[in-house]
């Protein structure tokens, strides 16, 4: 059986807009990506902003050509056989407005269903059922230009689900959603997958917990390259020998950044709140034996420990271990 998605040395180079006097620059958004997603899998692509997630999704959903390499969906080449690929896919991109302001949710969904050759009867049945399941039934008659962000995104997701694609691409489906709607969304994704075991979803996210909670397998992408690919449990297990501590410190007075220089540990996350004079730091280290040295280092910076706890390894720790820096840092660098 063909893999649902397969890429081989997939590379995409964007030409940077020419600014005066400078030669035209190039930007490698995807760099030799090899990926294989099996039918029936809920596959997560995890990476910070700018990692290349959307670029990959656009290539796979026939909206963008790769610069080189191979990309297949259901064994079909996304460049040469795009017509056949389109019969089998759908894509939803989170956080993007779409639709026509004067139509209602139900009408809008019907319109988009007509792009996939559904009869009106089938389409309306599916739409009504999805609206019901996803808690949007009461808003079916609301016009698009009166929707809240959450409702708009729910509508957009239903647009993807209602055509029953073999492979569904979800680009940051929970972007900008509140905790409650995000949970509803994850539940809906799971139930849609459970309805038919041959369905495949490739979803991207930069929320670790979401990938850990939802996905059968996860690939970690960073700066256009796949850094690791396995089940969340395996990724974490491979990392289990590491020990993770979370400390709350006081008295660092602006020297919090120097924690990054402590020998023998990796700083996973560092939040300092100068107003309250507190710093929370998450550290991962090869074994407990390194702890006394770390505590000494903190004391040397003038820090007092308010709280110290030993924690479970999470996907975030794995990511930092692999990419060498945390999401927050990566995003800062982007800006």
């Amino acid at each position: 059986m063909d893999p649902a998605i397969r890429t081989q040395d997939l590379t995409r180079i964007y030409r940077k807009a020419r600014s005066r006097g400078e030669p035209q620059g190039e930007f490698r958004a995807l760099d030799g990506v090899n990926l294989e997603v099996r039918p029936g899998e809920l596959f997560g692509l995890l990476g910070p902003n700018g990692a290349g997630k959307s670029t990959l999704i656009k290539i796979l959903s026939t909206l963008l050509f790769p610069t080189s390499g191979l990309a297949q969906v259901c064994g079909l080449d996304v460049v040469k056989q795009c017509e056949q690929v389109r019969e089998r896919i759908n894509m939803v991109s989170g956080g993007e407005p779409s639709g026509y302001g004067l139509l209602t949710i139900r009408e809008q969904l019907w319109v988009f269903s007509q792009l996939y050759g559904l009869t009106t009867k089938t389409a309306l049945e599916r739409i009504d059922r999805a609206l019901e399941q996803y808690g949007l039934a009461n808003d079916a008659g609301t016009k698009i230009n009166r929707l809240s962000t959450g409702m708009r995104q729910k509508m957009n997701l239903i647009r993807g689900f209602m055509t029953n694609p073999t492979v569904l691409f979800l680009d940051e489906p929970t972007l900008g959603l509140d905790v409650h709607i995000a949970r509803q969304t994850r539940d809906y994704i799971r139930s849609w997958m459970a309805e038919d075991r041959s369905r495949t979803i490739l979803l991207t996210t930069h929320y670790m917990a979401e990938a850990e909670d939802l996905c059968d397998r996860v690939a970690i992408i960073h700066a256009g390259k796949i850094r690791a690919c396995d089940t969340p449990a395996n990724l974490i297990a491979a990392f289990r020998r590491e020990t993770v501590f979370e400390l709350t410190l006081a008295g660092l007075d602006g020297r919090a950044a120097e924690l990054r220089n402590l020998a023998g540990v990796t700083v996973v996350r560092l939040d300092s709140d100068p107003a309250a004079g507190r710093t929370t730091v998450r550290l991962s280290m090869p074994d407990d034996a390194a702890l006394p040295a770390v505590l000494g280092g903190i004391a040397g910076l003038g820090g007092r420990i308010l709280n110290l706890s030993k924690n479970e390894v999470t996907l975030e720790d794995v990511f930092v271990g692999i990419a060498g820096r945390s999401f927050a840092d990566a995003e800062k660098q982007e800006e």
């Binding site: 959903s61 909206l63 963008l64 759908n90 639709g99 004067l102 139509l103 319109v111 792009l115």
Partner: protein, 269 residues
């Protein structure tokens, strides 16, 4: 065959959006029917001020009616395709398993409600307020010419939509700037042969120039035609085929280029 059905379904749905939305927001009736009728009347008065023969009034009315169809193809279809990108809908159309032409057709058909209204208002104005006289015998031929003109105009519109897709805002600027030049070259307000043979022949690449001229000859009995009606009809048919083929290739080429350059989903360029 199922693919034809699916494409028609998609076109129907896209047209339906227009019709429904137009019914929900009726301010367009004012802007798209009443005011254009006034503009048309203006050109009638210009001829009156010049003391021109009454048939010029019929010429203006016919031209005024046809302008609506041109505007629908240009702004309601070709440019709309590009606006969909800013609205976040173009991706959805582009990755659906249907032809882009179906979507374009839907846009044009959906806009026809408004255009038809506009035409009727101008026609009534011409008949009741001005001195428009039809040659009843020529009306059937004129209708055939009208359909042919629409077909080639639609082909031209699809070509333009691919240019809009690629050049975005720049193309829109050009389309805006070309408005009066098109009004001039198409002979909306005077028989096109007044441009001189060379210019009129060049202007005939724009299907409305030939279409309006042929309709004036058949429906209004104009003797100021540019070429014989038969020749004009044949040329229109040739243009329809040519534009249709070109539109297909151009749409595909432009889409591929946009996909290569990563511009297909790039907003606000």
């Amino acid at each position: 065959m199922s693919s034809l059905r699916n494409n028609l379904r998609a076109a129907g749905a896209r047209a339906w959006i227009r019709v429904v939305a137009a019914n929900r927001e009726l301010s367009w009736v004012w802007f798209e029917t009443f005011l254009p009728a006034l503009t048309t009347a203006c050109y009638v008065f210009i001829y009156r001020a010049m003391g021109a023969a009454p048939e010029f009034e019929s010429y203006v009315i016919l031209g005024g009616i046809m302008i609506g169809f041109w505007l629908n193809v240009l702004w309601g279809m070709a440019a709309q395709f590009f606006w969909e990108k800013d609205m976040g809908n173009l991706d959805i159309y582009m990755m659906a398993p249907i032809s882009r032409m179906a979507i374009l057709l839907g846009m044009a058909l959906g806009g026809m409600t408004g255009t038809a209204m506009r035409s009727v208002v101008i026609l009534l104005l011409g008949i009741f307020a001005f001195r428009v006289r039809f040659e009843v015998a020529g009306l059937a031929t004129a209708f055939g010419i009208f359909l042919l003109t629409m077909a080639s105009l639609y082909g031209l519109g699809m070509m333009l939509s691919s240019l809009f897709l690629l050049f975005g805002r720049g193309a829109q600027r050009w389309a805006e700037a070309a408005q009066e030049p098109i009004y001039l070259l198409a002979g909306f307000y005077f028989p096109v042969r007044n441009l001189g043979f060379g210019v009129a022949a060049a202007a005939s690449l724009f299907p409305l120039a030939l279409g309006i001229d042929a309709m004036r000859q058949t429906a209004l009995g104009s003797r100021a035609g540019f070429l014989p009606v038969g020749v004009e009809a044949a040329a229109l048919a040739a243009l329809t085929v040519l534009f249709g083929l070109l539109a297909r290739t151009m749409l595909r080429t432009m889409e591929n280029r946009a996909k290569t350059e990563g511009k297909l989903t790039l907003k606000w360029q």
